[in-house]
Symmetry: C2
Subunit: 354 residues, 2 copies
């Protein structure tokens, strides 16, 4: 593995732009010495930050652009003023033209989805991209998708998501045949929505070598880590993800309130502070920052917009893993195997039949 892994970073993305992106890249470089970056954005903002981040300075090239996508613009508007010229579009170009192995942006989610689909296009055999997130569980982590890249999936689209999620799990968890579940409101075969049951049947029939389909899972099972990959339609997935985030914050608030109420509880807190640090680390959303767009002609990672350098470094770590362990060819292999198994038998020609 002497070859460098080169990533394109949207230096202007996120709530804080280069002041988070560059220090985040510095942290990622300290973990992966074989990384190098293309920093896309306003060099007047980027250059002054390089002095304080010497590793980035030594391993990055800058592609200058004045145009940055604002965090609250609608995708259509962002495409109008940002197509071809914005830092967000240009990191995708780096991937498209083979100059970078993956793109990372902390920018406007809707705009990134739209630009990624528009600029990179979906892979052969994949109709819609999906957004996959790492979901912390009692057993470690699972992959959950779709977190909102495409709304209203049907049965074949869910099946393809399962296939792509399994490919990602092969890379992230280093598994030959990751377990996959479809999110439903009951685990019995008769429960839930028709298209989910149908997707289950497709996966069971396909019985792919790289995917161990386990049936339905309920949403209170996700956190237990009962399967490596949880698959659901994008609207539901986004609701589930944000419900979990909201509940974690809510309990954090309860805990802070309870621990500061009396001198005994404050003393208890002091004594147990390493335990609380462990807990905070377990619940730290920065650790699982970085969602992956699956099904495009190139690897694109979406970081939370409000994250700090440590959080952005996690998103870069994911991009590194996806590039280094070749997510794209794992997806290609899995999607091809799926379509080969699903293909109708070739029709017999009239000449041959007569």
């Amino acid at each position: 593995m002497s070859e460098k892994v080169r990533l394109a970073l949207d230096a202007m993305g996120g709530d804080f732009g280069p002041s988070v992106i560059i220090p985040g890249a510095e942290i990622a470089l300290s973990r992966h010495r074989d990384l190098e970056f293309v920093l896309v954005g306003d060099e007047r903002q980027i250059l002054p930050l390089l002095a304080a981040n010497p590793r980035v300075k030594a391993h990055a090239q800058i592609v200058h652009t004045d145009i940055a996508i604002r965090m609250d613009d609608k995708p259509s508007k962002a495409l109008r003023y940002g197509r071809r010229v914005s830092s967000m579009w240009k990191v995708l170009d780096e991937v498209k033209f083979g100059r970078a192995a993956a793109a990372v942006s902390a920018g406007n989610t809707g705009a990134l989805m739209a630009m990624a689909a528009f600029n990179l296009k979906t892979m052969n055999g994949v109709e819609r991209p999906a957004l996959a997130a790492l979901w912390p569980t009692l057993r470690g982590e699972s992959i959950a998708l779709d977190m909102g890249a495409s709304i209203g999936a049907d049965a074949p689209a869910l099946a393809i998501m399962a296939v792509m999620g399994a490919a990602m799990a092969q890379v992230v968890f280093d598994l030959e045949r990751p377990t996959v579940g479809l999110l439903n409101i009951g685990v019995e075969e008769v429960k839930g929505l028709e298209f989910i049951r149908e997707a289950g049947q497709i996966l069971r029939d396909a019985n792919l070598a790289g995917l161990d389909y386990k049936g339905f899972v309920e949403s209170d099972d996700i956190g237990k880590g009962v399967v490596d990959v949880v698959v659901t339609e994008g609207f539901t997935g986004n609701i589930a993800l944000k419900t979990a985030e909201g509940t974690a914050r809510q309990i954090g608030e309860y805990l802070r309130g309870a621990m500061s109420r009396t001198w005994r509880s404050r003393l208890g807190y002091l004594l147990a502070r390493t335990a609380f640090a462990t807990l905070r680390e377990k619940m730290d959303p920065r650790k699982s920052n970085g969602a992956v767009f699956l099904g495009l002609n190139g690897v694109v990672i979406k970081s939370h917009g409000g994250t700090d350098p440590l959080g952005f470094a996690s998103a870069v770590d994911i991009a590194y893993d996806m590039a280094r362990y070749d997510l794209q060819s794992k997806i290609r292999t899995m999607v091809d195997a799926y379509h080969a198994l699903r293909a109708e038998p070739a029709p017999v020609s009239l000449e041959a039949a007569s």
Copy 2:
């Protein structure tokens, strides 16, 4: 308020049957002296429990039946063997024939939904029933519906749910004009699914006196308590509810693990144990046990099947409030007002026009 509130309890419902239901009723009676019960179930199991629960003994009447609905039967099967004769069906009969003001069951959710809809029918002006739960928030509690009673609501169905949820909030939170939000994956008007945007337009146009429509809410806002009532389609609602439950359990596990790791953290835990007790109480799922079926000709409460007497008592408390403060006529008034505002102007007759 001298009149008694009479509730019908399915004594055979839940994982533990009368051994939880009767002590649960005893706890509820200690809180509401004007309660009385119809206990429906196997009197051979009920009678021996009455000695240890003297309040229930003094304020309950038994309706005997041998037939109990099993927790894991499909609704269709439950209806085949349980229609007219099971304890679940018979508590609904008590409500239907005016002998009880509400029915409470900890039995099989699917079977209870099917029997309640079949036996009590939906109210005039309501096409589908909805299941509403109390959702603990940083500000207290909100009402969330539909938690899975009917899957695949359209825009008018969502609007009617909002109306019924607001009526319930008037009763539970004693508010004149509760705030209502539609669950969506973004708060902007252009986001999310078409039928949700349409439901928002209906509610905005209707501008009802008893409902303050606040627009879209995201699922990480539910726990903040940004609105009194959160409305969503049943599949999504069930996913959100179970994701929150699962996440709370997961964090509880993390916390237990962290606090027991070292002698310092164990000592800290001991010092802060009243704080942890407060936290446990905040997160106690038993406190918010008891979901309400809205939109039927009668009040029906679903308790968790695995709950203990304290949890079952919460479900009885909710049934008491709904009966005492007349949920049904509040819903009736709200639904009528909604339909009156939504009605097409009466067509002008040909004679009058000419």
